[in-house]
Amino acid sequence: MPCTRLSRRTLLAGLAAGVAAPAVLRATGARASDARIVVSSNFGPETAFQAVVDAFNAKGLGVAVENRFDGNYEEATAKTLAAVSAGRPPALMTTGWKFGYYAKRTLGARDLREIDAARAEALIGNFVPSVHTLVTVDDALIGVPWAMSTPITFINMEHWRAAGLDEAIPEEIDTDWLYERARALQAALGGGAHPSFRSPLALSNNEWTSQSFVQNAGGAVIDEAGAVGLARPESIAGMELFCVPAHEGLWIPVGSREQDAAFIAGALSIVTTSSTRVINYPQAAPFEVATTRFPGVPGRPRRMNSGGNFLAVYAREAEQAQAAMTFLEFCGSQEGQDLWSGVGYLNSSVHDVAAPTPLIAPAQAQLADGLTAETIWPGTRGFEAQNAWRNAVSRMLERVDPVPVAMARAQDEVAALIAA
């Protein structure tokens, strides 16, 4: 019987083919002629965003998209800055609303109309007109406004029932209602009366929910004219109301990771945080979760703020920019939006997208009421201004400074930084 001699070269070639074959088979969606683009995102491989990317790649439209998870908004922005400096920007980045000015004026986010005016108009037409202004900076259309959230209230219904509270939760609540329930929860479940209960309330110690309180009280962090409004009596009143539960011992201010972990573990009864948690909380928590609107300020009209991110194009080369537009068109389509809704953002498109969960209803109601933008920090030192405001919020919660003193100081610091 003839026998082929196995040389070292043949063996290595065989091994290489064996290793490469699965990779080649996996990459059936991508072709050598495809334009390959990278999206710097805040979403890992297990998220609905990856599903959007995979569905797009499967279509074989001549563009292969790679989702690169780059951490939170700040981390992704820093990495993109480094990439822009090196002349290799990602084609797209999920950019936080709050970094809108920075994206346009410093990172060089492209005007979609400049890439392709007709495609840009068709693209933005997929989204409701009220969000167009959020992606319009210096008269340029700098992205696709597809990820919108707003802070709402999450309630652990097991605690609620254990404390004997009325299960009919109003659609609109204010701080009087919320703080009264927090006190009732503390009285009924505190001191070891409930095995998992540790604290009744968390309003989120950050610059976002504090902005909600300031605005609901009639004030402003930075108003529409660009003026810092922290020293206004309404803003001070809003922050005094924000600090009440912390000063009363009803709220232990912690970071978002600890807050989420404590709520999911059943240690916290009420949390006000991003509406995107409508996906994570019920999946992870072993108890019923209910939601309602963010608390308003008694006697004041509500003026809630939005949050989230937009998809902006940073590619400099024409082919990469056009490929990015092709992906954005899919993101704005009915199919793309159906997949994207799994992340838990509000539907800001004109498409009829099924709500991922009934828990998102309060956020949709707040969107229908009208949402202002998240504070967009202007100037070359805008990030420092945001940090100064965050520090001021923490100092007020810790009672390091009385609220009026801290607000006056924050006013001066923020005004100086955004004017620099």
Binding site: S85, I252, A265
Partner: protein, 295 residues
């Protein structure tokens, strides 16, 4: 070319890669930092503008730098003695049980935290320290003690960061001390014991002098670690907060450079940090090394 020239040339050839590496990755960045400190530069826009002393004034005139410098000093005053003396005490204890069946268990337990990175060390402690339902507070409550807010309490945060940094780093110094102590001839220790020297007398007059080269190495490297490496723990555990109560100079440098994108200010902080490290190292070599006994 004679033999001496050839020898000199080959020596230069052998040394050149190291010299070039140090020049490219140490001195050149320092020089670039010096230049950036007087420029208003942004890497994305690639724009340069001469800023004069504006960056220096912005850094030294702000509250953040003073707080970070103070915090850095406190970290050093707490962590350097702790990371030198506690591992020494543990190494002395380990030497006493060397060869026993339980000794490897102690080695593994005490050295294990060293294997994780600084940021992972911070992440490991987060669930333990959660002020709402963390393991440590559950233990305190079970013992009838009041819970703490740990790293979220402005008064406690710096001490909590120090504790986690100590947990992460002491194992390496422990190994170094242990290795040095195990090289001391048993005959000398035995002779001292027969002569009536107690434990502490033996440590003071035999162990520490004979292990002094290692002690000096530990001191110098611990100062570096305390000044620089704990930034990973600060970032994960507190993010420099609450309101900058745990920010040290390297964290402030990172924040100014890669969060706020103020590269001129970050360069000023880098130069100040380099100067501090250089002065501290000089002081150590000038005043501490003379006490070192080289065999």
């Amino acid at each position: 070319m004679d033999a001496a020239d050839r020898r000199a040339l080959s020596t230069a050839g052998l040394v050149a890669p190291a010299v070039l590496a140090v020049a490219a990755f140490l001195y050149l960045p320092i020089a670039a930092s010096g230049l950036l400190a007087v420029l208003d530069y942004h890497p994305a826009t690639q724009t340069f503008r001469f800023a004069g002393l504006a960056n220096i004034a912005a850094v030294l005139g702000g509250d953040a730098f003073g707080r970070a410098a103070w915090n850095t000093l406190v970290y050093c005053l707490v962590l350097v003695p702790a990371q030198v003396l506690v591992p020494l005490a543990l190494a002395l204890g380990l030497r006493e049980i060397a060869g026993s069946r339980t000794a490897p268990v102690y080695y593994a337990c005490l050295f294990a935290p060293t294997l994780v990175s600084f940021s992972v060390a911070g992440a490991v402690w987060l669930p333990l320290l959660n002020p709402i339902n963390g393991v440590l507070n559950e233990m305190l409550t079970a013992l009838g003690l009041p819970p703490s807010r740990w790293h979220t309490d402005a008064r406690a945060a710096l001490w909590v960061v120090s504790l986690v940094a100590f947990w992460k780093t002491f194992g390496l110094n422990l190994v170094l001390w242990y290795a040095a102590l195990m090289t001391i001839p048993k005959e000398q220790i035995e002779a001292a014991r027969i002569d009536g020297a107690g434990f502490f007398r033996r440590v003071r007059d035999i162990d520490i002098p004979l292990a002094s080269p290692t002690a000096f190495f530990i001191l110098v490297t611990t100062v570096f670690t305390t000044l620089d490496d704990i930034v990973g723990i600060i970032d994960v555990l507190t993010g420099g907060g609450p309101f900058e109560r745990t920010t040290n100079l390297p964290y402030l440098l990172w924040q100014r450079g890669l969060v706020f994108f103020q590269f001129g200010q970050a360069s000023v902080i880098a130069l100040v940090t380099i100067a501090i490290v250089a002065i501290l190292t000089w002081v150590q070599f000038r005043f501490v090394e003379r006490r070192v006994t080289y065999a």
